[in-house]
């Protein structure tokens, strides 16, 4: 396959010219053709130019998956801005923190975002707030630019020249409040990764996907850009809460693709009988976002015998994707995350830095044009993870004799629950704020549906008592929904080494 142009935005423009009337995105409110989307992109870019955006300026957005999300995202790129797409489930405190850390001067937000009042009250006054949506927010203040004001603009999409090393996006992965981790991806990084994904998935303008993954995570982000790069269609469904509705939509829209994390498939297989639905158009399924139990992959394959299943692995720091298992190898290499994607090199390295022998566990390291530039404003953390051009993923794996990779674990203590990567430290900091708490350790415990669920072990100060739900209520007030510990156990003391380090592995048992 020929290489993409320098940037995904250039490619998007080409796609618009080739397929102006094809469906680009359908959400619950509208169906936008490529031409519709492009016109909206033009209005947003015009607004940003008029309000003083210069190349390299950061623009943040807190928008659920929608036509508007894509229009704002590409509108920022059209004028050389850097997108900072934020987790829509996050609390105001985190959103304000990320906007401040990225020095974004604009914040596009969903008109009915539940945290908006708190954000508007606390965020710095020089940040321009733009309400996205056609309904009109109840909470708008004078300082908020309405969506209608933007739609009223009429202007062609401006041309900005960009080179591959120009910064395209900052994606905040989990980190503690004091130390947000912003992955910086250049236009070259993203373009290279999308190019690789397109080549192995063989996506074309005839493909359409039912997308349930949030665009603000790198997996969803790659789904958005791969489809807009080839002229495919994205059908959006923003919740898996109603699996039957998801399945019906797949049938009605005759989609050719579907992507999920392991919990997506556990939920669908657990709650609906996939065989009851006519999915004869479904060409492929992709799975990433955490190791899927081989038994679940088997179940999925047998429920959809005519559909190719791509098991994939990646990291935000790599643009999204690092490896994939070709579907024809699914049985032979059961449990494997496959081989390096095109244009990326993977090595499993020992602690001493040598390449391991087959069967020997080491750390997955990767190099390629897709590897991030670093963490935003954090050279120290960047140096810890990128050495001599190689990304040290923190994931442990071994290869077999044919070079196929098998995950053995993680060297970091990050919790993976559903599609979310969660820092235990962040939750520990919040629980520690409660007066009666002496110390706390948060771990991920195995869960059939979500991969892991969060458990907090809490030690109370002497002669204190506390209800579990008080802790959970405090977490709910300060953390996104998915970060609230499912279970809490009070214990006398935390297991520690002689040097005082908490032995979390003992708590995970």
């Amino acid at each position: 396959m020929a290489s993409l142009p320098t940037t995904l935005f250039d490619h998007f423009k080409t796609t618009v010219n080739k397929y102006p009337d094809s469906l680009a995105i359908a959400d619950n409110k509208q169906r936008a053709s490529y031409q519709d989307l492009f016109e909206c992109v033009g209005k947003i870019s015009q607004y940003l130019l008029e309000s003083g955006l210069k190349k390299g300026d950061r623009v943040s957005l807190v928008i659920t998956n929608s036509v508007e999300y894509a229009a704002v995202f590409y509108g920022i790129w059209a004028v050389g801005g850097v997108t900072v797409a934020l987790n829509t489930q996050a609390k105001a405190k985190d959103i304000i923190n990320w906007v401040g850390h990225s020095d974004a001067k604009w914040l596009f937000f969903d008109e009915r975002h539940p945290e908006f009042k708190a954000i508007a009250a606390e965020i710095k006054s020089d940040i321009e707030l733009i309400s996205v949506g056609r309904g009109g927010s109840d909470d708008q203040t004078d300082r908020v630019v309405s969506w209608q004001q933007i739609l009223d603009l009429t202007a062609p999409v401006p041309t900005t020249s960009l080179i591959p090393s120009d910064l395209a996006s900052i994606i905040y992965t989990s980190g503690t409040t004091g130390h947000p981790k912003g992955v910086t991806l250049s236009h070259g990084n993203l373009s290279a990764n999308i190019d690789s994904i397109l080549s192995y998935l063989e996506l074309t303008e005839r493909d359409s996907i039912l997308n349930v993954l949030p665009f603000y995570y790198s997996y969803g982000n790659s789904i958005l850009h791969t489809h807009l790069a080839v002229g495919g269609s994205l059908i959006l469904e923003n919740s898996l809460a109603y699996p039957h509705r998801v399945m019906e939509k797949m049938v009605n829209e005759a989609v050719t693709g579907f992507s999920g994390v392991p919990s997506t498939f556990a939920l669908l297989l657990g709650r609906v009988n996939i065989k009851d639905y006519d999915l004869s158009m479904l060409r492929y399924i992709t799975q990433a976002g955490g190791a899927m139990a081989p038994a679940l992959a088997d179940k999925l394959s047998s429920a959809l015998p005519g559909t190719e299943l791509f098991i994939m692995y990646g990291q935000t720091e790599a643009g999204a994707r690092l490896t994939y298992l070709p579907p024809k190898m699914l049985k032979e290499k059961r449990g494997s995350i496959g081989i390096a994607i095109p244009n990326t090199t993977i090595e499993v390295r020992s602690k001493e830095g040598t390449v391991t022998q087959p069967g020997e566990t080491g750390e997955i390291c990767a190099s390629g044009k897709n590897i991030m530039q670093g963490y935003w404003k954090d050279n120290e953390k960047t140096a810890e993870i990128i050495k001599n051009g190689w990304l040290y993923t923190g994931d442990l794996a071994h290869t077999d004799a044919d070079g196929y990779l098998y995950i053995d674990g993680r060297s970091s203590d990050m919790i993976k629950s559903g599609a979310n990567r969660i820092s235990p430290k962040e939750i520990e900091e919040v629980i520690q704020e409660i007066d009666q708490v002496l110390e706390v350790a948060v771990v991920g415990c195995p869960d059939e549906m979500l991969g892991e669920v969060i458990k907090a072990y809490v030690v109370l100060k002497k002669n204190n008592s506390l209800e579990k739900r008080v802790i959970q209520h405090h977490c709910k007030s300060n953390l996104a929904l998915y970060k609230i510990p499912k279970t809490i156990e009070f214990i006398e003391e935390l297991p520690k080494t002689a040097s005082g380090k908490i032995q979390k592995f003992l708590l995970q048992k």
């Binding site: 039957h244 709650r271 709910k476």
Partner: protein
């Protein structure tokens, strides 16, 4: 205890972590208000099946039946008829 009270208590206790009745309006959308996510909805279904001895069919898993206390109460009443 009425069906509505049972459901309200379950949501208040397990997802809002409070016994403050004012924290939940029976018309509140669980998803829009960020009270439940997709796994939370599933847990509610298991609770309903257990507590009210009903079977929630795949095709009944729609927001019209499950996205608020009021919707659930009407749904259970219909199931019992």
């Amino acid at each position: 205890m009425s069906s509505e009270a049972k459901i309200r208590n379950y949501i208040l206790e397990n997802y809002l972590f409070t016994d403050d009745e004012s924290a939940l309006d029976s018309a509140d959308s669980f998803l829009d208000k960020g009270i439940l996510d997709s796994t939370g909805i599933l847990e509610v279904i298991y609770f309903l099946e257990d507590e009210f001895e009903i079977k929630v069919e795949d095709t009944e898993m729609v927001p019209e039946n499950l996205d608020s206390v009021n919707n659930i109460v009407s749904f259970i009443e219909r199931k019992r008829q």
